[in-house]
């Protein structure tokens, strides 16, 4: 039984994306974020709170850096380009907004370091976090270059959802207790429901069956979600049109001006989220 299992798993361990394609994946969920359309309005972040039972930690704990925003919108002020004669007095080009959710890396750096394999890769290409298995060593968060893993430093159930706020909790996923690491799952509960429905109806999943909460709510439709294995999906086409490929540490684009890129691609994490560059006049 178990020995057999470990041997099987051992060969699994040794399989990485460099072995040539994702032949044993059923899906490869991915996303695209168009920074040209993103206004940084934060709707995705709050939608994520609503969908995924994210705890509200309060001012003090937020100040300590214990907030739990799986989907966070970062805002950067870019240094003025003096050569282009940009004003040093004002942020003339506004801010740079960057929504960041778990990048669902194919070579996720968080996965090999978890001592109990609480985070692992699903056949859906998702970087899954098994809350029940997590022992809270927090190594994964240390090793995530994107810092997209959030730890339950406290038990938030009582403080975050006083009655009757707790009635809003989504029963499709758990409320995490203290000592557990958590992160964006691409709304795995929605993926689950869509897959179950499809299989109950004896039909294949179609592109668009699944919409994570952030993608659903985005007022500007800057976020696109889909299956990267299905070459016909909207997302695959988008990746292809921007000449971004999985499994590369550097994209060799025919047209260097295409906007697609992946954050920290050079670290060989092989993320499944493609960003499209922000556009500015001049």
């Amino acid at each position: 039984m178990s020995l057999q299992n470990v041997l099987t798993n051992w060969s699994q361990y040794r399989k990485t994306h460099e072995d040539g394609g994702f032949y044993d994946y059923e899906h490869m969920w991915g996303m695209s974020v168009d920074l040209n359309k993103c206004t940084g309005c934060n709707a995705c972040s709050v939608a994520c709170y609503a969908e995924n039972n994210l705890a509200v930690v309060g001012k003090e704990k937020f100040d300590k850096g214990q907030g739990m925003h799986w989907m966070r919108v970062e805002r950067y002020w870019d240094e003025p380009d003096l050569a282009a004669g940009e004003s040093t007095e004002f942020s003339e080009h506004g801010g740079s907004f960057l929504p960041m959710m778990c990048q669902q890396c194919n070579a996720a750096t968080c996965e090999p370091v978890c001592p109990v394999a609480a985070t692992y890769h699903t056949p859906d290409g998702l970087n899954a976090q098994v809350y029940n298995r997590c022992i809270g060593s927090r190594y994964c968060s240390n090793n995530c270059p994107y810092r997209l893993r959030y730890f339950n430093f406290y038990s938030y159930y009582e403080s975050s959802w006083p009655e009757p706020l707790n009635m809003q909790l989504n029963p499709d996923l758990s409320v995490r207790d203290k000592g557990v690491m958590e992160k964006c799952t691409f709304c795995v509960q929605r993926i689950r429901v869509a897959k179950d429905t499809a299989s109950r109806e004896n039909q294949a999943l179609v592109d668009g069956d699944i919409t994570p909460a952030c993608v659903q709510t985005c007022p500007t439709k800057a976020l696109v979600f889909g299956d990267l294995i299905n070459t016909e999906s909207k997302l695959s086409k988008l990746w292809a049109s921007h000449e971004v490929e999985l499994g590369k540490t550097e994209q060799h684009k025919k047209n260097k001006e295409k906007r697609g890129y992946r954050v920290f691609e050079e670290l060989n994490t092989d993320p499944c989220v493609m960003y499209l560059e922000r556009v500015k006049e001049v």
Binding site: C114, P115, I135, Y139, R147, F151, S155, K178, G179, V180
Partner: protein
């Protein structure tokens, strides 16, 4: 200057060592109570932390690790001294180690026992700690063998077991002496532990063989255990951690802090147990020279790390390095460099090397530096890393300090109990050393050791009345097993 008084009587050795194990004085009790109080502090902090969560330690995003891990490495490092003295120096026949290796070995075991606590303290859900062990279940769930934390669990538990066994085996002849001089519960304890040691040839032969095998086994283990601990960092991709020189760097650092700790305990034991006859200035000086050499290796590896990061032009790594130099943690970094790389030059002065109070203070300073080093490995990297949104500076809370503080109490308590229950100086090896040294005066040492025709001055560990001591001498006082 001689390492030991060659004219010392066997009975005197027994007497001195056994005396140190009995009648704890008031100072001892005060020290013990102080240690227990420190532990109580930590336990209270611990309970609070478990009740309310890891956030009470001020841990945050991105500072998921902090003092717990730093102190863990510190204690693991401390454990390397015993192995160095008893195994490595044993194999290379550096016999000056003999008066001091026993307590160093005890230190190894106890610091491992202390270190082992920290991964537990640090876990978010410690009640599931056993999941890192590959126990067989119906569900076929295994730990992740790729994780350096799992390697840690294996390495540390193996090392702890081995070093405890090594400590025990090395003590058997001495335990037999204790047995012969003890009454009451101590008699029972030593009888059981000395495993029927009578000191006959066959036993000695087997004993030596086992001891040598264990020593050979332990050396690679010691090197590997800190290499594995270093891979917690080196195997990650974070700038400032992902450094190939980390394994030797950690091992050197470990030996360094271990040696410094030996000096500290050397001074304390020498003073409180009046072991001046055995823990001589000359032995101290040798230990100091060894520490100095290791300190220089450590400093060199430090420079290599800086230079390679600087030369490598990896921007995030460089930022972390610069942050260590000038960032919010810079004062601690420079204190660490001062303590770890500048202070050891005191060893270069013979006068200082032979000045016991100075060496005591210095050894503590060195270890402060080494503790800071561990903190400076863990924290600055986490405060920078790759993603600027998570740049942060964090200072540990009182909870963390209390637990770190308490760990010293825990170590101290274990050590205090040890010195009163077990001989902290190896009687038989000191006798061996004395014998050896006498033989060296003119004869071929092997001839002296192996000759059966010499005096009855053979290093014997088990002869009634404190051993066959030439020239008589008073039998050692019996140990009261009250």
């Amino acid at each position: 200057m001689k390492d030991i008084n060659e004219d010392i009587k066997w009975a005197q050795i027994n007497k001195d060592v056994l005396r140190s194990m009995e009648n704890p004085r008031r100072g001892y009790w005060i020290a013990l109570i102080a240690c227990v109080a420190m532990i109580a502090c930590a336990v209270a902090a611990e309970i609070y932390q478990y009740q309310y969560g890891m956030g009470t330690a001020n841990l945050n995003w991105p500072h998921m690790w902090d003092l717990y891990i730093a102190t863990f490495i510190f204690w693991i490092g401390m454990s390397h001294s015993g192995t160095l003295l008893s195994a490595i120096l044993h194999i290379i026949h550096a016999d000056w180690r003999k008066p001091i290796y026993r307590f160093a070995e005890a230190m190894t075991t106890f610091s491992l026992m202390t270190a082992g606590l920290f991964p537990m303290i640090h876990l978010g859900r410690v009640w599931n700690l056993y999941w890192v062990l590959p126990y067989v279940t119906d569900r076929g769930i295994w730990p992740n063998f790729r994780s350096p934390l799992v390697w840690d669990a294996f390495a540390i538990s193996t090392y702890l077991t081995s070093s405890a066994i090594f400590l025990f085996i090395g003590m058997i002849p001495d335990l037999a002496i204790c047995r012969d001089n003890a009454r009451g519960w101590r008699k029972k304890l030593y009888t059981a532990l000395s495993l029927g040691w009578r000191g006959d040839d066959r036993q000695w032969r087997n004993f030596r063989r086992t001891y040598l095998v264990m020593a050979c086994f332990l050396i690679p283990l010691a090197v590997s255990v800190h290499s594995i601990v270093s891979s917690d960092f080196a195997m990650s991709i974070m700038p400032g951690w992902h450094i190939t020189t980390f394994p030797p760097y950690f091992v050197a650092g470990a030996l360094y802090s271990g040696c410094a700790a030996i000096i500290t305990l050397f001074v304390l034991l020498r003073y409180f147990f009046r072991f001046e006859e055995y823990m001589t200035i000359s032995v101290l000086e040798k230990t100091c020279k060894l520490t100095f050499a290791i300190a220089m290796v450590w400093t060199y590896l430090n420079l290599i790390e800086f230079a390679s990061v600087w030369y490598g032009h990896d921007v995030p790594s460089k930022e972390v390095l610069m942050d260590k130099f000038v960032g919010p943690y810079a004062p601690y970094f420079w204190v660490m460099i001062f303590c770890g790389s500048v202070m050891p030059f005191a060893f270069a002065f013979r006068k200082l090397r032979r000045h016991i109070p100075s060496m005591f203070v210095l050894s503590i300073i060195l270890n402060l530096g080494m503790w800071l080093e561990r903190w400076m490995i863990v924290t600055p990297t986490l405060s920078l890393g790759y993603h600027p949104i998570a740049f942060d500076t964090m200072w540990p809370s009182m909870i963390q300090w209390a637990i770190v503080f308490g760990s010293f109490g825990w170590f101290g308590m274990l050590f205090l109990v040890f010195v009163k229950v077990f001989p902290s100086v190896s009687m038989y090896e000191v006798k061996e050393m004395v014998y050896h040294r006498r033989g060296l005066a003119g004869k071929d040492p092997d001839a002296v050791l192996h000759s059966r025709t010499g005096s009855d001055d053979r290093p014997s560990s088990s002869s009634s009345g404190g051993g066959g001591s030439p020239g008589g001498g008073t039998p050692a006082p019996g140990l009261e097993g009250a």
